[in-house]
């Protein structure tokens, strides 16, 4: 009798252990593990394969459209995670760089016929330049004041765009931006755009990963942890902050350019404070100090917003409510507690079964 029980239990344990192992493969778990495996491991290959094959497996165009948006948000979140998640500085004006990128591309391609490939680089450069100009004075501020200053900058940019209609088309924006094209190949369907955006994202992830595992990544974390300690080991804190800011802006500028090339329009409504808030939420939900997490956060929030949109006027209040709830329950990011909670959940199921068995 006892042996029969033991066999049952062992089978169940085995099943749950295998389930746990499988899950541990795919769920990232930043803060509980030693981060030093900065090489590329099996999990990264799994992610890459998923990205490659997903749109072919699931060929709903609406899904493709959402993934394109998610990819753009992912690029934005990646840039901001270097600034916020690693270097610990708050920016509530990141959407402005997105807008700068969008409009640069829009103006260059519609009025001067610049090919979108070059417009992409020009957009990133313009955004970087603006970041350089305003970065020096603004980054001296800390905490709430930095948040406020970046917010202020974002709002000023928004007003300037709305008012200078000759350049930017004012409130209406710019239309008929040509699709992204490279060497004769035009990205006009959602599927093609998906590969474009996610290709760029993967490249940027590689760049960011290299940054993080080099001395620069440590410098970012040092600046976030203790500016005094950082300068005591020779780190030029102001220069590092400016550097991360510019990188984040460059990423956002590229995202803006790709957005314009994909959506064919650029208008002020797309880069309001709401977008800046959204990107910060993606970084927080993905986990600060985490590189893949914010991208997952980007996918999650993009789909969430799309899912909510069918409730029309209820969508915004519910969205605000969900944001607050997510912040209360997942302040370290969704992934961090998720694994522990899943382990708990799975083992709970096992324990429940065991209890029922014994009570027979």
């Amino acid at each position: 009798m006892v042996e029969q029980f033991q066999k049952e239990f062992r089978k169940r344990d085995l099943f749950y252990s295998i389930a746990l192992w499988f899950l541990s493969l795919i769920i990232p778990d930043p803060q509980l593990h030693y981060r030093k495996e900065y090489g590329f491991r099996k999990r990264d290959l799994f992610y890459l394969m998923t990205i490659l094959w997903l749109p072919l497996i699931w060929s709903d165009p609406h899904f493709h459209h959402l993934m394109v948006l998610a990819g753009i948000h992912g690029i934005l979140a990646l840039g901001l995670t270097l600034f916020l998640g690693y270097a610990g500085q708050i920016s509530l004006g990141h959407a402005a760089f997105f807008g700068i990128g969008s409009y640069t591309t829009a103006i260059l391609t519609t009025r001067y016929g610049v090919p979108s490939f070059f417009a992409l680089w020009a957009s990133a450069l313009t955004a970087s330049l603006v970041a350089f100009l305003i970065g020096r004075p603004i980054l001296k501020l800390k905490g709430y004041f930095l948040a406020l200053a970046t917010l202020g900058f974002g709002e000023i940019f928004l007003v300037m765009v709305r008012e200078s209609s000759s350049l930017t088309g004012g409130v209406i924006g710019i239309f008929d931006i040509p699709f992204f094209s490279f060497a004769g190949f035009i990205f006009d369907t959602f599927l093609k755009q998906y590969y474009l955006i996610w290709g760029v994202l993967v490249g940027l992830v590689l760049f960011s990963k290299n940054l993080i595992r080099s001395k620069m990544g440590r410098a970012f974390l040092a600046v976030a942890s203790s500016e005094d300690g950082a300068s005591a080991v020779g780190i030029d804190v102001a220069r590092i902050k400016l550097g991360v800011f510019i990188i984040g802006a460059a990423f956002a500028g590229s995202a803006g350019s790709l957005f314009a090339s994909v959506m064919s329009t650029a208008n002020p409504e797309t880069f309001s404070l709401n977008l800046s808030v959204l990107i910060v939420m993606m970084v927080i939900l993905g986990g600060m100090g985490n590189l893949y997490g914010p991208i997952a956060g980007a996918i999650f929030l993009t789909f969430l917003i799309d899912g909510l949109s069918r409730y029309q006027e209820y969508s915004l209040p519910v969205y605000g409510l969900i944001l607050i709830l997510l912040l209360i329950f997942f302040p370290d990011g969704i992934g961090t507690r998720l694994r522990v909670r899943l382990i708990y959940l799975i083992s709970y199921l096992g324990r429940k079964r065991r209890r029922e068995k014994v009570e027979l």
């Binding site: 948040a147 709002e155 808030v277 209360i328």
Partner: protein, 296 residues
Amino acid sequence: MDLLAPLPQLLISGITFGAIYALVGLGFVTIARASQIINFAQGEFVMLGGMMTFFFLREVHLPYSLAALFAILVVILIGFFLHLLVIYPLRKASLPILLMATLGASLFLSSTSALLFGTLPKALPPFAGKDLLELGKVSVSSQSLYVLGATFMVLLFLYLLSYRTLLGKAMEASSTDPLGADLSGISKNLMIFLAFGVSAGIGSIAGIFITPIFYVSYHSGTLIGLKGFIAAVLGGWGKHSGAILGGLVLGVVESLSIAFIPSGYKDAIAFIVLLLILYFRPKGILGSPFMDSRRW
């Protein structure tokens, strides 16, 4: 010169708006003095003050003063709920999280207001009729005088609260020295809770007094909240007098700027002022008790 002719009138409207910004700024300062938290939903309190009064006046058909009173009470309740449901659960969270939570709350409040009250702007009738007083070349609406009066009363109230009552001093103590206050039996969370109520009340008063002059709509809270915060920083972050001075300066500068630049840029003026002050003198005009002088 003809360019200068509208200036005195703009000055009056600038002072009026400045008083409103001062009130909103006082709301920020009250919470910050108790807890070092910046409540980005402060502007929504202002908006809700006006909205609620409109609702009680037009839908429930209460007399004006009763409608205003109920509105203030409801907004104070909302302030309490905001603390209990959002701030208190996050009391140990880091700064970006708190910031995002108040932004989320602001979004929730403004969109719920759109849901419940519709998206059209609402106006309230002036308190004492449309008479305009003529002082020399300028005409001052009686409403403006009411606004200034309200600001003065609120300031007086806050002054008495902070410096003359035990409660006010307890609130200050819990911000300056949390451990010491805790050991003295002052519950920091209770102080913050009350601070939210007080600043919600101040915000709603500001909303009620300004809506007769300038309509209120579901999205007007965000901008007014930001400008109020800017006013508080401008005048000297953390000081009541700073919020008043900052508010008046901001209001006047903003109003006068209309004479010189296209009106669409008016909202940007506040942010330009903000960037200037943060760059040149982050402590604000009158200095700040919250920032130490070292290495800012």
